[in-house]
């Protein structure tokens, strides 16, 4: 595998051939301390041009992290902000749903009345606010820094820690030689900290120590959970990090990234964290909400840098909104780079459980081949192909525990792991698909399966059936089956294998594992050695 590069937007450079798709986009990020919007346009040369950036402080995090719910007044505050944003969008004619992406993160995610909040926003503003999960947040964050990494190849050498200390949570990614090898979300949030530690009456002089104790504890836990001990460089993403860069790097305005040595960064963090909120507001002209979180956030970065032995901070100008934008514009939605990031992170997970990489990859490739061939039958899309591929790679990780019931072990290993860019519900489906690669077919009382929607149950069955066939084709773990073609007759589906003499083992396996396929797809499945003549047939 080669390190991924952000795929260039596929649009041609000439205006004449430009597809008639939207050129203007708005992305909104409802965070714990602020609601932000960015309006951008896609230029003919494929570049993204930011037109407007707006932000407005809110109390969402304060409400969620202390009360567990969003207060009515805060809901109305957000609604008013979003109404104004709506007006700005309309000025640019940005009104179609495919031009707008609005997401909310931890503070809304954790609020007990999140649905009330989302409904109210939709009714008042027609903005469909989407609560994104932690993994999605990580993926978007990565999407945002992807082109920075591409533009600075030196950053891709060696290990890199990409961190966003947010108001509620911190996202952390480990990038090794350009690949995300680990990603996770931790409950280390600048605002969450302030609210849960209840520092309202703590004098500024003691504030630093109070935060430090808490941060050290969490950061140590993080350090233990991350498979890398040391990284030379930490990429810090967030408004707080950008604030530090503005004050520490004189010509930051003209650069895409700022490089700050750990010593200056940590000293700055300490200085900021020791200032009273109103002092920060006055001195740095920030909002009170920003002033309340900037200190703990910077300390979070500084402490992470300390435990990981980081020497240098890199602060890019991008943010989660850049990821959203790239995705909205279509240049970033599961582009090749991200796809290979995901595969790489699945393979890394497999290695953790000493899996047979070649078998996993082989089964994954065969599964995808079958999946595409059967598209008219299952009618599923690329997201499902992705789930199937990952499930195939990991279907045997359970062997690490024991060969007996290893399909069940595979499932719970997957359920308790994080994969780059995969949400909880994605992981749940992947786990189930892997589980059903052998033995019992799905039953309504099976754990995990029981709670699925009807649609998702169908997805699991359709994909597990394919996985079983693909697994049978590599029964001997020898990766003999390379080239396939297919033949369909009334009620039967035959896989034609090229350049293989003997398929008896595979046929036995298929007999054992193919029944689910036959039930789900309503076709008998057969396996034949392709004659040379047949091999010339186009495999459509």
């Amino acid at each position: 595998m080669t390190p991924p590069s952000p795929s260039e937007p596929a649009r041609p450079a000439t205006g004449k051939d430009t597809p008639a798709g939207p050129r203007l986009f708005a992305v909104i990020d409802v965070g714990s301390t602020a609601v932000r919007m960015e309006i951008a346009e896609l230029l003919d040369n494929g570049a993204i041009h930011t037109i407007e950036q707006l932000h407005h402080a809110v109390h969402l995090g304060k409400d969620s992290f202390t009360l567990g719910r969003i207060q009515q007044s805060t809901i109305e505050e957000c609604v008013n902000i979003l109404k104004n944003y709506r007006r700005v969008m309309e000025e640019y004619g940005v009104t179609a749903p495919n031009q707008i992406r609005a997401v909310a993160t931890s503070s809304v995610r954790e609020a007990s009345n999140r649905d009330t909040f989302l409904d109210r926003v939709y009714i008042a503003t027609r903005i469909n606010l989407e609560v994104i999960e932690e993994a999605e947040e990580t993926r978007l964050t990565y999407l945002g820094v992807q082109d920075i990494l591409a533009r600075h190849p030196e950053l891709q050498k060696g290990d890199l820690l990409v961190v966003e200390v947010g108001g509620g949570d911190s996202e952390l990614l480990v990038v090794q030689d350009g690949f995300v090898t680990f990603s996770n979300t931790y409950r280390l949030g600048s605002l969450r900290m302030r609210e849960t530690l209840d520092v309202r009456h703590t004098p500024a002089a003691r504030l630093y120590e109070t935060f430090l104790k808490h941060i050290q504890l969490t950061v140590d836990q993080i350090h233990r959970s991350v498979p890398v001990e040391k990284t030379a460089c930490l990429v810090a993403i967030s408004g707080d990090a950008r604030f530090a860069a503005t004050h520490l790097v004189a010509d930051w305005a003209d650069k895409s990234i700022a490089r700050i040595d750990v010593k200056s960064f940590s000293a700055f963090a300490r200085k900021i964290a020791s200032l009273e909120v109103d002092e920060l507001v006055r001195k740095y002209r920030m909002s009170f909400q920003e002033a309340e979180t900037v200190g703990p956030a910077l300390m979070g970065y500084a402490q992470l840098a300390k435990v990981f032995g980081v020497e240098q901070f890199v602060v890019p100008k991008s943010s989660l909104r850049h990821g959203l934008l790239r995705e909205a514009i279509g240049s970033g939605a599961w582009n090749e780079g991200l796809e290979s990031q995901l595969i790489h992170s699945a393979v890394s997970l497999g290695h953790k459980y000493s899996f047979d990489e070649r078998h996993g990859t082989q089964v994954a490739d065969l599964s995808v081949r079958l999946f595409r061939e059967l598209q008219p039958d299952h009618q599923l899309g690329v997201r499902h192909e992705r789930l199937l591929r990952v499930a195939a790679i990991l279907h045997e990780v359970g062997l690490f525990i024991h060969s007996r019931s290893h399909h069940k072990h595979s499932m719970y290993i997957i359920l308790n792991s994080d994969l780059f860019g995969m949400s909880r519900s994605d992981m749940n489906l992947i786990g189930l698909i892997a589980r059903y690669h052998r033995r019992a077919a799905p039953q309504p009382y099976h754990e995990g399966y029981a709670l699925l929607s009807r649609d998702d149950r169908m997805v699991v069955s359709k994909l597990a059936a394919i996985l079983r066939v693909a697994d049978a084709l590599d029964r001997n773990h020898m990766q003999q089956v390379r080239e396939l073609s297919f033949a369909r007759a009334r009620g039967s589906f035959t896989i034609l294998v090229h350049d293989v003499e003997d398929l008896s083992l595979e046929r036995v396996a298929l007999k054992e594992k193919g029944s689910m396929f036959e039930e789900v797809y309503g076709m008998k499945i057969g396996l034949e050695v392709a004659t040379s003549n047949e091999g010339l047939m186009p495999d459509v």
Partner: protein, 707 residues
């Protein structure tokens, strides 16, 4: 000038203002100027004084009432200061009327502009004016009986009123009766007499006075005397109170009508009895009473000075020139897209700015227009264009500053009519006046969204743009567009302040940026680099800025300031401000641009700004500081600054004792008049542009004639 006890480091702002008005008056006294130009300056002096009494003197009197006695930073305690102000104002008024009644009156008379008096009219003329009174004045004037100070009716400020004393009827032993006659302002001050030769006028109060007895049938009139009161207008809107701003502004207008009287002007023909009654009625003392030997409200003569005809009594006009960068027929947006445009008004026409909004209203590619309106003319074409744009479904945002002083009533008018046409009208920011001058047009073009921005130093008012010197900068560079939009998002409350790429705005970062720029020069100078600061502003009051400039001067920075009005900085004081030069230019056009220059070691920074260097501008107003990046525009600004500091015709230099002396040309040299030079430059640029324009004949083709 009586010296305060402590050696002053700052000029007192009130006295500095009066000194500015003295410079305006000097132009009126200047015998080398044509008589109508002089009359204009006399009128401006009066109008300036009106405003001074309304907004400054009132506040000072208030301070005194609150028994504040501490001296300010210029060393003046309120009591002494008020006495000094009164002394100077009385002297100024005396000079003004001396000039008007002795010198100008004769010259005007000789030139055919004559004021006629009712007692010296031909019978035919008398009869004519009697008819005017009967048919036009009588139906609309209102006599009001005056019972006493406790029961004083609402009388308008700054309007000429007639005080009427009716004869006491001795037989019935009644006290004398008093009345005031209101002459509505819309009747005008001057009634033209139907005489062919020259321009002959009668003052409206003279006509009403002549026939005033007809308002009081059966009661003999003992005395009729014109007077005028000035009310304290120094009351802001209390924005912390609940209720909507529009309604509260209307309340202020009412309050202003009722506030206390700070000045009483009466014709010096007044009797002792009537004067006593007037001072008692309005609660003023001798200090605040001005007995004048001529017509009240000389500001009204501004209209007379500008009437059509009599051009030989004026200087040759300097009509605004078409700027060469903007072809008269092409699209203004194309012109801006070709190149950033810097305009110097009124030498160059303000039309391009009006055209930008008008073209935007009619341009199908324009998505949105955002504009700040502070003071605008009546029937403003800009407002009409904004309304038209809104009718055409463009998104139009107008920040209408209701708090623009004395324009409130007019502003409320537009605001309501704009709202009706679908413009999103925003009444400024709570607690701050929106004084920045910026307009953004968002246009959808083949290459993407493009924003055209106009930054100005003057208001969007095509009338004052012919009288005030101002600078416009028009650009579509993305950084300016992004900043200008962010600025609007900030004032509309859509977004909290974001870091600007280029601009600085008050009250957020402008003051800090200015100090940083001044201190930057100081540091460079201390490190041996050449350092220089030049500025063209209207007022310099802010103590932080002044102190920073003093420090810069002490470090050796060469500082040249062209401050038209109030300047609390004292230049040339040994050890304090040796390297500072302050000039003030009072000439035909009111100097109004704000241009700043910081040498930056030879890579100078140039700015235009809406802000004067006063605490109110830097702390309580929304203002902009705009760097000018375009090289040609920068060179032009530098050239303009050069010319101002070279002026030896209309410039005055402040001396180290705070007084101003005229800058004289070197012996034998012709005086250099910067405003004239600017005009010549504009003409020349226009001529050059015309001469290089290719002559293309446009044939009339048959098809083009078809309907």
């Amino acid at each position: 000038m009586s010296k305060p006890a402590v050696a002053p480091v700052y000029n007192n702002r009130e006295l500095s203002w009066l000194s500015f008005n003295t410079r305006v008056l000097e132009e009126g006294l200047d015998a080398s100027l044509p008589v109508l130009e002089r009359l204009k300056f006399i009128a401006i002096t009066s109008s300036n004084l009106d405003e001074f009494f309304m907004v400054r003197a009132g506040g000072l009197q208030q301070l005194l009432l609150q028994a504040k006695t501490e001296a300010d930073n210029s060393g003046w305690a309120p009591g002494e200061l008020l006495a000094e102000i009164n002394r100077q104002c009385h002297a100024m008024v005396a000079t003004q009327y001396g000039c008007m009644m002795n010198d100008l009156k004769t010259r005007l008379h000789d030139a055919g502009i004559r004021r006629l008096h009712m007692n010296k009219l031909t019978p035919a003329l008398y009869e004519y004016l009697e008819g005017v009174f009967e048919h036009e004045l009588y139906p609309v004037i209102t006599p009001i009986a005056i019972k006493g100070a406790d029961d004083l009716p609402q009388l308008p400020g700054l309007t000429v009123l007639l005080f009427v004393r009716l004869k006491a009827d001795d037989a019935k032993a009644k006290k004398p009766r008093y009345a005031v006659v209101l002459i509505p302002k819309r009747l005008g001050r001057f009634i033209t007499a139907p005489i062919e030769e020259g321009h002959n006028y009668v003052l409206v109060e003279d006509v009403v006075g002549e026939f005033v007895s007809r308002l009081f049938p059966g009661e003999p009139v003992a005395e009729v005397v014109p007077f005028r009161i000035t009310r304290n207008a120094d009351m802001g809107v209390r924005e912390d109170l609940a209720g909507d701003l529009l309604r509260r502004m209307k309340d202020v207008l009412v309050a202003r009508k009722q506030s206390n009287c700070v000045r009483l002007e009466v014709s010096d023909a007044v009797s002792k009895t009537s004067l006593g009654m007037l001072t008692q009625l309005f609660g003023v003392n001798a200090d605040n009473t001005y007995l004048v030997p001529g017509p009240l409200d000389l500001a009204a003569y501004f209209g007379l000075a500008r009437m059509t005809g009599f051009d030989e009594l004026r200087e040759k006009p300097w009509p605004p020139q078409q700027p060469p960068a903007i072809p008269p027929n092409g699209s203004i947006f194309e012109a801006i897209a070709r190149k950033d445009i810097l305009l110097h008004h009124p030498y160059e026409s303000f039309d391009p700015v009006v055209r930008m909004v008008e073209e935007a209203a009619d341009d199908p590619n324009v998505l949105a227009i955002k504009q700040i309106l502070y003071r605008t003319s009546e029937n403003s074409p800009i407002i009409a264009a904004l309304a038209r744009a809104a009718n055409r479904d463009k998104h139009v945002t107008a920040i209408v500053e209701l708090k623009a002083r004395f324009d409130e009533a007019r502003n409320i008018g537009w605001a309501e009519s704009l709202e009706q046409s679908g413009v999103q009208v925003i009444y400024g920011i709570k607690g701050l006046k929106t004084h920045a001058k910026v307009c953004v047009v968002v246009r959808k073009e083949t290459g993407g969204i493009r924003r055209y921005v106009h930054f100005g130093t003057g208001n969007y008012n095509e009338i004052t743009a012919r009288l005030y010197t101002d600078t416009s900068y028009m650009t579509c560079a993305d950084d300016y567009g992004a900043d200008a939009t962010a600025f609007f998002n900030m004032i509309t409350g859509y977004s909290q302040p974001v870091a600007f790429r280029k601009l600085e705005a008050a009250p957020i970062g402008l003051r800090a940026r200015l100090l940083e720029l001044i201190e930057g020069e100081t540091l460079r100078c201390e490190q041996g680099q050449p350092a220089q600061i030049r500025a063209r502003i209207n007022s310099l009051v802010d103590a932080d800025i002044i102190n920073a400039l003093y420090r810069a001067s002490q470090a050796g920075v060469k500082i040249q300031l062209n401050v038209r009005g109030i300047c609390c900085l004292r230049p040339g004081v040994p050890g304090l401000s040796d390297n500072i030069e302050v000039i003030s230019i009072v000439d035909r056009f009111l100097e109004h641009s704000r241009i700043l220059y910081f040498h930056q070691g030879g890579d100078p920074l140039l700015f235009i700004s809406s802000a004067d260097w006063m605490p109110r501008n830097l702390d309580r107003r929304v203002e902009l500081l705009v760097p000018v990046d375009d090289e040609a525009a920068r060179q032009r600004l530098i050239q303009n600054l050069d010319a101002m500091f070279r002026d030896t015709a209309k410039a005055r230099r402040q001396t180290s004792d705070g007084s101003y002396v005229r800058v004289k040309p070197a012996k034998g040299a012709k005086p250099f008049r910067s405003q004239e030079w600017f005009y010549q430059q504009a003409c020349e640029a226009n001529r050059t542009a015309k001469s290089i324009q290719p002559q293309v004949f446009q044939p009339e083709r048959p098809g083009a004639l078809k309907p």
